[in-house]
């Protein structure tokens, strides 16, 4: 009778709000301050199970502990090794060190390529907050991320999902990735592509810009396409965002609406709005995908946290009582923590904390608080190392584009958000992922506004 009782207790636990009482930014800072200099009591290769969970609490953000720690957990400790960016990025960082500056409004000026600022010199406060934000913005991405298939899985705490169609689709090929509990409400599918056009460390010969900054690349930091192919009611919907190189210039955004068969210019207010009902906004992708100048920034300090920085799986594998914990290797990483404070009074968040890897510049964890100052959402991201052999499965099994050898890119594997106030989340595993080289002709076709009308 033990197991049924245990399951019942787990179910009751799962049905409760993930954080029993209101979790505030002060609570987060209390964990941060208490554990900034904590030393790990585990070693490489250890598998942390429920009875040893206390070992990882200092290195797991307080708000994420209820998700990471549960009976049946398996957190394997594995050092990520050298996952630093390639030499071209390091070279550009070195070459242009000290040239970038922050204007009075927070805009980045005199920046060319590489990491703009050295985080080792940062001190808590707004000034270095801006520097951290721009370091994040111009982390190493080569030409940008390409995803053949994004799944947006709407999960609700409790229950199970064995009967959901995604478990049997295509002969059950997704089943191994969605283990554990949690009920699935809806699954959206679609491709994604981002292309960076400027500040490209890999293009010194063309002034660090695609096509020397002429033509399609002119004045552009990046273009980003997010599409949806199913279910039928949203099939064909696509968003195109154009981020200008001028940090003070607002994005331009368009959406293709299938029922209108027309491209519609959309307001950038949409970026801070839920994306098609998921718990993400367009601004939340990657941890933060918005314009730095639309927010205020404060550098908080460094922490050491566990993260899936170098996944042992080609694709994200979920488990746990609610199906949103990650079954993978967890590396202890040094992260810079920065606080993001939206400037707009009608922004749904009051603030976010972002954990940004000191070495790679990638983000593995963030959280957001609502206007009342209560914890609302938690993001956990996983990365696949481009140089690992199993990364090739993206090409062989998922028809990904080819990531050139030596790219040394922490490829975006998944971003998973948990809405703790509503006991639900959205898993966003990606498949067919790559950081391909720029084929300008191909990119022009995909990321041209006029391409959207070709959609069906």
């Amino acid at each position: 009778m033990k197991n049924p009782i245990r399951l019942a207790l787990l179910a009751a636990f799962a049905a409760q709000p993930l954080v029993a009482s209101a979790f505030t930014p002060e609570d987060y800072m209390a964990w941060f301050n208490a554990n900034q200099s904590a030393q790990p009591q585990f070693v490489d290769g250890d598998v942390i199970t429920y009875d040893k969970a206390d070992l990882i609490r200092p290195f797991t953000p307080a708000e994420y502990q209820d998700i990471q720690i549960f009976e049946g957990m398996e957190v394997k400790i594995k050092d990520a090794g050298d996952i630093s960016p390639p030499d071209v990025y390091k070279k550009a960082t070195e070459q242009f060190a000290g040239t970038a500056t922050i204007a009075s409004d927070g805009a980045l000026e005199n920046y060319t390529a590489g990491r703009p600022f050295d985080p080792a010199t940062f001190k808590p406060g707004a000034e270095d907050g801006w520097k951290m934000a721009w370091n994040w913005n111009f982390r190493w991405q080569l030409a940008g991320l390409s995803v053949g298939e994004v799944h947006w899985v709407w999960v609700r705490a409790g229950g199970e999902h064995s009967g959901h169609e995604v478990m049997s689709e295509a002969g059950g090929k997704y089943k191994p990735f969605y283990t554990g509990g949690g009920s699935f409400e809806r699954v959206l599918t679609g491709p994604y592509r981002r292309v960076m056009f400027s500040h490209r460390s890999d293009l010194p010969e063309t002034n660090y810009k695609v096509n020397n900054g002429e033509g399609f690349a002119k004045g552009t930091e990046f273009r980003e396409y997010t599409g949806f192919t199913s279910p039928f009611d949203i099939a064909g919907t696509a968003f195109l965002i154009l981020r200008y190189d001028d940090p003070r210039k607002s994005d331009d955004s368009w959406a293709y609406i299938p029922s209108l068969r027309r491209v519609r210019r959309i307001s950038v207010e949409v970026k801070s709005d839920s994306l098609l009902g998921t718990d993400h906004t367009l601004e939340d992708f990657y941890c933060f995908n918005g314009r730095p100048l639309e927010h205020d920034w404060e550098y908080v300090g460094t922490a050491r946290t566990l993260a899936v920085a170098r996944s042992r799986n080609a694709n994200a594998v979920f488990y746990g009582p609610n199906g949103w914990a990650m079954l993978d290797d967890w590396a202890l990483r040094t992260v810079d923590v920065v606080k993001q404070i939206p400037k707009r009074s009608n922004h749904p968040y009051s603030l976010k904390f972002l954990h940004i890897d000191r070495e790679t510049g990638e983000c593995y964890h963030s959280n957001a608080f609502d206007k009342a100052g209560k914890l609302w959402k938690i993001w956990q991201l996983s990365k696949l190392w481009s140089e690992d052999p199993h990364a090739q499965e993206q090409v062989t099994n998922w028809k990904a584009k080819v990531t050139p050898p030596g790219t040394r890119f922490s490829i975006f594997q998944s971003i998973n958000v948990m809405d703790v106030q509503n006991n639900r989340g959205t898993l966003v595993p990606t498949r067919g992922i790559a950081a391909p080289a720029t084929d300008l002709d191909e990119v022009k076709k995909l990321l041209d506004v006029n391409y959207l009308t070709e959609g069906r």
Partner: protein, 819 residues
Amino acid sequence: MKSTLRALSLGASVLSAAVLVAPSAEARILIDALGGEVKLEGYLSSEARANVGNGEAYLNQWIQRFELNAEVNYEDVGIFDTLSFVTVVRPEFDAAYYYGDSIGHGTARNAGGTSYMGDTFTYDNAPREFGGFDIYQNVRFGNANFGGGNNNAIGDENRATGNHFNTVGRPLNMTGGLSKIVTNGFQNPSWLTNNFETILNRAPGQGKYSPTNANLGGFSGAAVTSQMELNCIRCYDLDDDPLDVAMNNTGSSGRLYPFRELYADATVGDWWFRVGKQQIVWGKTDFFRMQDLVNPVDFGQHFFFDSFEDFRIPQWIASAQWKFGNIGPTTDNAIQFLWNFDEFQRVGLGNPSQGWAHPFSKDISVFAMYNTFFAVEPCVSSAVELERSQKAAALGLPGGAFINDNVCGSRGPNDPRSPAGFGSPAGLRIDDRPDWELGNTEGGLRWEFRLGELHIAASYYYGWNDTPVFQYENINVMNTGLGGFQPLGANTAANLGLGQVDCTVSDLTGGIISGHPFAGFGGALDPNGVCPQASLGFPIQVMNPTAAIGQIAANGSQDAAVDSLTGEVSTISDFAQRAIAAKDATLFYRASTNALTGGHVKMSYKQSHTPGLSFDYFEPWSGIVFRVESSWTFDELVNNTRKADWVDKSDIMKWSVGLDRPTFIPWLNKDRTFFLSMQLFDTWFMDYEGDKHSGYLTDEHNFITTFFYIGNYMRDKLKPVGFVVWEEASNSFVFGQNLEWFIDNHWSIKGGLHMIWGGNENFRQDAGPYHSFAVPSTGGPSGFGGTYPFQELPLGVARSGIGALSNNDEVFFQLKYQF
């Protein structure tokens, strides 16, 4: 409403059963086949719509629909970088329409139901269509006192008994009017109520479709409610099989079977080609079409309440787009060339028997019915002809012998004559659509680009105007021997050379069977023997409208005529001269009660050049996206009732300004914005002429304001959508609200309501040559009791704009399974 609830539960059962027995479907089916990757997706839906705005609730439409989108994609095929073949098939079936006699309102299959515009067809509310010239001998509709004092008694008795026949139970005329088909024994009385309804006889201040207004007289119309085949050359929707109508396979909807869309897509470098049956969508405005004029639309299925994608009519088009990047200060340049090589398709107005048929569809039905039943020569049954001949012989009148040729069918199996006929041109003769030939195909181009903050599209299109005009081919000018009916002057013999000779027959039997007040006057009316032997008829000359007014003005007839608007009395020739001098044919037509007996009309079209320009702009401080769109059509055909034939040309500018803003309203939804959108739209007739009741059918400017919102709850699984539309010129409104729940990836349900009101302030227009068809009033100027010149029929519905569809308020419910 019981039938509605039964229909809904039946629909849910059928749909559920279909899904249960169907193989389990994934969200999108991908198969490796045909050498490529085949994608299949689509949906099954059942939607019931109940009319609740007409005083009673009934199931108006219950549409079962299946849509399959299939495409197969290839890469690197020959010169093509990508090559795709796409098709959309969408069969549907309106069960409420097809089985209307048991579950719907019965506007099909002779079930006798009336539409939102109609009343049951009776002598009271459509006396001319029902009883032809009976109204002129029946004082019930006039204060004339013809042929003796007992007509007042006849009228009194008829009002008391509800019987429009005379004291011996016979109609006053044995031919003319649909009821004569019954009185001659060829149909039962139920045939009238099962196949026709009376529409468009609204009295001011009395709401919709009331019986003849006693003070102002009404121009009633009888529209066909069933699928009776009507005689109108090339007219859409007048000969559809009930099953075709139920399946939305009508002329109005376009040829949607077997493929709704079928095209090939290909890319070669910066070129994108699409050839096949497709929709081309230009422009940036919701609800209105300025640049979006490549494909016609079908407003007859559900007005504009469905997505444009659902009622835009796909056509065979070849399109090529070249993306050429940056030029000078412009970026994201693309130019699209297209050639619409399909046969011309006009705007769809619906089969007249359908639940949401547009009022102009009813107009077409009315006037096609006129051409079918009233334009043909009259005839009678054998028994009636025998009775006539015996009475004529007894009275010693000419034509006493049995005239076999008077008998219906005596001219063979294809004898087109009918007891309803008047024997002179009347109604809609032809929908004069352009035939398919190379010179009638359409083409255009669009250049899109970004310039600074603006995203701009300039377009040009040369093609046929989708919306036809009603044009008079000829009018019937009286040429009788009786003073008062001699607009061309008293020399009837000389007038025979003016236009085509014909006769408007009041009664083929000469009026002698019922003791008609005019019995025996046939010879006086027809001194030249133009009309059928022994008949009572009005000789006419069938003339071009402009020529007719000119001739009447020149011939100097002294016939008294009354301007039915002002009451002024003068001669008919004087009114004709005034019309010519003022270049305003209404000055003649509203005095033409005794001068004309209608005429033939046709639906006319013209090709026009239409350049357009649009742009959108995002304003970051306010977060608003501004959309501006405009088009200018040169020399578009328009209806102008001040012209003799009702047709004119005008440059038309259309423009709109739209504002979009996703807006957080935290107290309503802290998680998600509301999408708010507002638009102002105007149609500006640059060559406008007219006033509130004559000339063009709308005001010089027709402003329409729209507002709509989209909300999202429960992670976008619950979507409320609402909109309001206000049309300023007609002061009419539309309100819509629906709520859709996406239960999971497959199932969704949606329910809501649409309401239309207003348009009562002005719904009248000059009736032109049909002025004489208006039912005489009891008051007003003299003559046949006077007839008010401005009527709802035939073109007054344009004045009430959107409000013409009021009383079709509905609630609806949809169940959908998508895969």
